[in-house]
Each structure stands twice: as structure tokens, then as C-alpha cells.
Symmetry: C2
Subunit: 392 residues, 2 copies
């Protein structure tokens, strides 16, 4: 598998960092998650739990091992140093400077292991005026400009319903780590990889950024309408609405034909995209007058057959029951011995020869502490002493 | 640099695929973008143009080369076959089966080049009941469940203001390609990498998916409130609102202290997170009564100093003028000879030893056709004949 033999020391908690290391673990890296003795990742206490296990934690920590270690103690730091010596990757999401403050500045990391790839996930970046500010997904959504274009005109900007900046940063972090490992194949050296929640979100501003930078005109929030194309959006049917996305003139022609609205092509109000944008409400009324005549399911069949991108707005129950989602194995059932079978999201990356897979369920807190410490030749007596001192 | 020496043949258009190959090009892969003679990527005609150049196109195609090639012609297919023989990666976003239909089924790709990594970006995946449906970002947002949790309760679900499913799929595609290249270091073989817009979005459902799968309870849309934590959200000040995200009890205590609202801790309505969720409106009123007393800038200073994640909702003009965004070099100026200097988003991935960089601006249509064809030992006469036949 792609990352077989790659060992990752994982100092991250909550979601952005753990998502990054989950992606690496799904690609078969050996991920050693360092957790605080007695408590562990706060995610263990968050979200819906079944048989005492948070399914949120279980999902983001699949395929990882758990080692408890008190990094405030010298003994804990010594163990971390030895883990780093034998690792390929270190991932951390402390505030910038904290890793150095606990004894692991970049120079020491390089001295311990010049082949180490260090990935730092942060709110604002390792440098710059806001580097030391506390951060959180919602703040990155607000400060990146994302919220300013999410929502409806005339209403407040709104956050995304998911912690999008955490997830984008985690995904970039995984790309950065694997790219740095690829660079190491040639250079023999590791390096530092940085990704900030803010920068990740900024990089997703796409045509909104390009158009603003080119024109100086601020984009407006357009709800389910497309800012640049009409018609487009959610349309009422005889029962549930459908999303329709005719993204170019060819698809628009197919849509109008399927709706028996070809005559609208001759209407000067709708002759060009610019005209359609100016007469969006009138066009919506024309389209909806037809879509209301039949139900969602039949429109989805009709329009897909005509080559028009369309679909229902599904809630999560419908999503996980959808035949395509099932065919893509996007929900997995993972047996957690002593707990239950946990259902979780599957692997979006489909690799034909080395598919991602579940090699182990998310670990119980500290489940791998003894194994890992023994592999570092730490004696049973020293392990017992650390346990007595609550350092592991 | 991480992907130096890696050659990518890029058959993609619009955004999901080109974003994937842009990420590879930013990591210094040599990306050869194949475009239709005379037209090119439709993105060339979209978005705000300056001096005839779409800045949207310019942003997503930086660091790439452009070769025009009519893939409907036998000559075009022959050139593509030779490019594939010398490539490391092929990225395509045709509908499933189209690449095979034009003469490049997986068996032939493997016969041409067993070391080739093929990445397919699609709407619904390469298999399953919807594989042949036309797709588009909006449809993936609707069918993934994302829209069902984006927006406000009591209003319609809404799409994200950015083409989020395209971008997520492109980012996953880049991760998949680099992971497959890493696997190839050991196996000597390429493989197929698949990513669907739908699956990428599904994988971002995070705690929404975990909580639904664990409890069977559908999430509701909560606008700027957090579905699991209170207080949290946008609060009015004496001028502009601020986003505040106290994500745990410690930060909440710091927030209440900074607002001189510590007495709320003794109010049974606000004693626990569950109580605060039940009395969210009352708590909002208490917090806002204080935040209204001072302006946004002073609250941002005060709360950050107190260790409370907070920030303004910035529009794009403010974002690109922000000192942190400038410090992170998240806007680049790229000289496009014969056009203008183009401003575009920078590199969110910060690599200390092998930083991403601009090695060439986005290409004019077909700018590299002759160079690339000559590098395949195609004679000047044959190149001239292809040009006369409008095959390049």
C-alpha cells in the first residue's frame, strides 16, 4: 500500500490534524496517536456514543494506534524523542511555538531525525501577525471570505454546516506529507510542511477570488442561484424540489427541450446568459410552471436521460440509503471489540491496486502504549514506574 | 521539488480536474494540458477577463503547458498514445467509459505504460447506478447531504457559495496521485485512482455523519449557531458583528470573564452545555447586550488577548488586504507576457525546503504544441500537416 512502512507520530487532537493522520492511516501508514494519560483526545467525549464509544472519535481515528504519554514530564519527552528518531512523519496542531516550547524546536527535530517530515496544522499559519491567535473552524470560515459568499442576499452571511476549514486543512496536510515523502525519495531529507485553516479556505475561493481580483467588484451571496449562470438552482415539483444545473448552452438547450420550453430561446429576455441573469425570476417562473406538473422522481429520470445534471436534495438518512452511495461503499461497518459495530464514512479515494482499507478499529485510550514502549527497548520496570506516576 | 521529473498528461477541463493538476503543477510536476484546437478549455471563456485573459483560467492553469490536439482524429489519438508512453500520470474527468470509448481502455493504458498512474475525477464514480449520469458541483452538494445541513432552520437548504465538491475532489485527486506515485516507488507499477465529487463531499460530513449513524436522528440546519455547542455564532457589536467560537468549557469561562458575565455561570439556565443549548436565545441576548457596548475591533483585540477564538466576517476586499493574508503570501502577482500581471490565490501548502512556486504563467492556447510534438520526434512536415488539418 502507498504508505506501508511509513511511521507517523501524531500529536494532534479534535479534527483537522486527526483527519490528516486518518488519511495517512487509510493509506496504510502506521500512525501512533499520542494522547494525554487519563483523558485522551477530547473527541472521545464528543458526539453520539454507543456502548461508551464516540462514533465521531471512532471515525477519525480508525487505523491508528494509541499511546498515552505525559508530554509535560521529562520521561514523556524522552519517549517522544525516541519515537521521533524512528519515525518518518510528525504531525502536530499546537499553536505555533508550543512544540518548540516543550523541547522540540525545528533544529532538535532535525538533529533527532534529518529524514523527518514535520506537518504543522494551525489556524493562521506559523508566522504573521495573527499566528498566536487562538483559532477555530468558524473563525477561519469568517476571516477567509468564505462566509461572505455563503448564504442569501439580504440575510447575514452564514457558516458552512460542516467544519469545512478543518477538513480542507487536514486534506492539504495529507497531500503535503505525501509530497514531502516523495521529495525525500530524491533528497534523503525531511522538511517542514505547514497548512493553516485560513489559507486552506482562501485557496477554495475559486472563481469568486479570480473575478474579484480581476474586476474589484465584490461578489454577492446568491443562495441556490449560481452567481454567473441562469437558469440554475432548486425548482419546485409536484412533491419535492430538484436541483438543476445547466452549466452551458448545450445543456440549457437540452433542459428547455425536456421541459417543452424551447420557445423561450426566442424570447429576448432569455436569449443570452446575461439576459437570463437579468430576468432570472421570470425565467424561474417559466421553468417552475412546468416542473410543478410532475413529481421529483420522474423529473430526475427525464432530465438525466436528457443529459441535464439534476438531483434531489437528500438528507443524511436518504444519502446513506442511496444505491450509488452503497455501491461506492461510502459507509463502512467496523467491528470494535468490546463496544459495538460502528458505522462510519468510507474511503473516497479509490485506488485500484492498493485500495484503502480498515486494518484496525480506532484504539481504546493507550491500547498500544506498552507495545510501543517495549519496541523502544524501555524496560518493563520503567514502564511500570511510568504507569505508577501516571506518565502513560 | 516534490514532483520534479514527474510528467502529467492532463485531459481535464473546467475546475475539478484542473484544480487537481494545478496542485501537482504547483509541486513542480510537468503538466501537459491537452486542449481542443481552436477552443481550448471552456474556462478560457468564463469569468472576468483582463486584456483578453480570464483570470479564472489563469489561476487554475498556472505552471502548466498547453498542447492542442483533436482527440477525435486518429492522428490526435496517436500523439496521445505517445504522450502516455512517456508520462507518469494521466488525469481525466470524462464521464466513465469515454476514455475507453476513444481508444484508451485501462488495458491499453497499462500496455502503453505499466508505470502510469491514471486519475479519474467523476461526478458519481466509475461504477454504480448513477455512474453515467451527467454531474455538476451543485448536484453533488445536493445529493451528498451537504445542502441538507447548510443554511438555516425553516428556510430551504442552500448550496455553498463556492464549488466545494469540485475543489474537494480535485484535492483528493492530487493526494491520490502522489500516494500512487509513492506506491510505485516500491511496486514499480502504476494504478488507477478514482475520486467522485459525490464521495468527496460525503467524506466531509464529519460529526454530522457520525452522529446520524450512531443515533438515527437527522441533523437540522443551524445557520451560524453550532449544532452541538452554545454559545457560538455571530454577535452584534456597536458596529460590525463578530464571530465567536468558544469551543470548550475553558474558553467559555474566558469569554464570560472578558465580557464581565461570569455570574451567568451560576444561572441554572446556562450551567451546562445542554442547558445553554436549550436556552440559546436567552444566552445570546445576554452576550449581545455586552458585545453591543463596544466596537468590533476592540472586541477582537480583547477576546483574542483573553484566548477566545473570534474574528470579523471579512469580504473579499478585506480578505486580500488583511495583514495575515499578505504575510502568508496568499495572493500572488504573476506576469503574463502579452496580457497583464494577473493576481491570483497563492499556495496554501508551505513546504520549507521545496516551496511551491510559479515556474510559468498559464499558457496561451496551444503554446507548447510544437515543442511537445517535436520532443516526440514528430517531423516538422507532420506537424505542419496536422496544423493544416486543424488537428492541433
Amino acid at each position: 500500500m502507498p504508505l506501508s512502512g511509513i511511521r507517523v507520530v501524531d500529536l494532534t487532537r479534535i479534527i483537522a490534524g486527526p483527519f490528516c493522520t486518518m488519511l495517512l492511516a487509510d493509506l496504510n501508514a502506521e500512525v501512533i496517536k499520542i494522547e494525554t494519560p487519563g483523558e485522551g483526545d477530547p473527541l472521545r467525549q464528543q458526539g453520539e456514543a454507543v456502548a461508551g464509544l464516540s462514533w465521531y472519535y471512532a471515525a477519525y481515528n480508525r487505523n491508528k494506534r494509541s499511546v498515552t504519554l505525559d508530554l509535560r514530564s521529562q520521561e514523556g519527552k524522552d519517549v517522544l524523542a525516541r519515537l521521533i528518531e524512528g519515525a518518518d512523519v510528525l504531525v502536530e496542531n499546537y499553536r505555533p511555538g508550543v512544540l518548540a516550547a516543550i523541547g522540540f524546536p525545528p533544529e532538535r527535530l532535525e538533529a533527532l531525525n534529518p529524514r523527518l517530515v514535520t506537518c504543522s496544522v494551525s489556524g493562521f499559519g506559523q508566522e504573521g501577525p495573527y499566528a498566536q491567535r487562538p483559532s477555530f473552524d468558524f473563525i477561519a470560515q469568517a476571516m477567509s471570505g468564505f462566509m461572505s459568499i455563503n448564504g442569501r442576499e439580504g440575510e447575514d452571511p452564514i457558516r458552512s454546516g460542516i467544519p469545512i476549514s478543518d477538513l480542507v486543512a487536514g486534506l492539504y496536510g495529507a497531500l503535503g506529507v505525501v509530497a514531502a515523502l516523495q521529495a525525500r525519495e530524491r533528497t534523503g531529507r525531511g522538511q517542514q510542511v505547514g497548512i493553516a485553516l485560513l489559507d486552506g479556505m482562501l485557496s477554495f475561493l475559486s472563481f469568486m477570488a479570480a473575478n474579484f481580483l480581476a474586476s474589484g467588484r465584490l461578489p454577492v451571496r446568491t443562495g441556490n442561484d449560481h452567481p454567473l449562470v441562469a437558469p440554475y438552482g432548486l425548482y419546485a415539483t409536484a412533491d419535492h424540489p430538484i436541483a438543476i444545473a445547466p452549466s452551458n448552452e448545450g445543456i440549457l438547450s437540452r433542459l428547455l427541450k425536456a421541459l417543452s420550453l424551447e420557445h423561450l430561446r426566442d424570447d429576448p429576455r432569455f436569449a443570452t446568459n446575461a439576459a437570463r441573469m437579468a430576468n432570472r425570476d421570470a425565467l424561474r417562473a417559466e421553468v417552475e410552471a412546468v416542473t410543478r406538473l410532475n413529481d421529483q422522481a420522474s423529473w430526475i429520470a427525464t432530465l438525466n436521460a436528457a443529459g441535464v445534471p439534476c438531483g434531489p436534495v437528500l438528507n443524511l438518512e436518504q444519502v446513506f440509503d442511496d444505491p450509488q452511495v452503497r455501491a461506492s461503499e461510502m459507509v463502512l461497518e467496523v467491528d470494535h471489540p468490546g463496544r459495538s459495530t460502528v458505522r462510519m464514512l468510507g474511503f473516497p479515494l479509490k485506488l485500484s491496486d492498493t485500495p484503502c482499507r480498515i486494518s484496525r478499529p480506532a484504539p481504546e485510550l493507550g491500547a498500544d502504549t506498552e507495545d510501543v514502549l517495549r519496541s523502544l527497548d524501555i524496560s518493563p520496570e520503567d514502564i511500570a514506574a511510568m504507569r505508577a506516576g501516571r506518565l502513560i
